[in-house]
């Protein structure tokens, strides 16, 4: 089952692409910056260099030059 979300124009979103890799985040786009709002478990997972590289590559594919992660407040 695909969990990729689609935009109104049919383009795959960064949020969906990250979710397919198990990174469940909310993406807040700010021009070239994607702010990934995530829970503690996802923050911890991004401590892994390879996974971080994957997230950065996906963001680049989706047109973002910068990616930053914010810890979701309870």
């Amino acid at each position: 089952m695909s969990i990729r979300r689609e935009t109104a124009g049919g383009e795959p979103t960064l949020e969906g692409a990250l979710a397919e890799r198990g990174l469940v985040v909310r993406v807040e786009p700010r021009a070239g910056l994607a702010v990934l709002i995530a829970d503690e478990a996802t923050v911890a997972r991004l401590g892994d260099t390879e996974l971080r590289r994957t997230a950065l590559a996906l963001a680049r594919e989706h047109g973002f030059t910068h990616v930053a992660i914010e810890l979701r407040t309870r």
Binding site: R30, A31, G32, L33, V35, L36, E40, A41, V43, A44, L46, G47, T49, R52, A55, L56, T65, H66, V67, A68, I69, E70, L71
Partner: protein, 280 residues
Amino acid sequence: MHANDDAQAAENEVLLIQWLRGAARVAIGYSGGVDSAYLAVVARNTLGMHHVLAVIGRSASYPAAQWAAARQVAESFGILVAELDTDELNDPKYAANPSNRCYFCKSELWSRLVPFASRFGFQTVVDGTNADDLGDHRPGAQAAHEQGIRSPLADCGFTKSQIRHRSRLLGIPTWSQPSSPCLSSRLPYGTRVTTERLALIEETERAIRRLGIVDDLRVRYHDDLARVELSCDELAHWLVPERFARLRDVVVAAGFPRMALDLRGFRSGSLNVLHGVGAA
């Protein structure tokens, strides 16, 4: 540093000494960063105390910590220092923060520094531009060129790593210091530069430093959000939930409502990339 590069750095220093002897007296645009500190020390050692004047341009965009470090280096090496207040924030062209913002800042600095130095008999004014800088997006270099500022480190072929190496040999503490551009570089182009925003950025970086971070660090201003760039080693350390929360709390206490940690880590000229000015 590779042995060949080591030898090249030593040769460059010989060239620099010759260059300085040719000038006889120099006033240096001095920030206390790696480049200008090295230049000031070599000039002082070559020409003597009374033939070298290090001039600091002070404004809200110049971090107080850097000022203190600059004064300390000068005092340790017997370098005469003068300070000039600059007023770039009151220039609407600067405050609007266009991609050539540095041009207006440096125009302000050099237009004050050159006549000041001349009054004290310093006809040659130099800056710390090095050979690595020449390929970057540096509109400030145009202002320097217009005011006749010379760049002996670049003229002698010094790269940044060579300057660090020679600084270490000379016992200059800045040899391992991270680069520290002005605070306005933390604001995306087009975001107005104000004294309040610069103070917020400076205080936030200071608060983060108190957590023990000594490597490269930038707090990038995105309105309500601080995007924090750390070195790759530090980044992995802080991507642990409890530490991350501590970092966020420190940033929020400093005055930003939100904090996000950049996943790529520190990169010089990061906001140039965000706005398509430099290479990604």
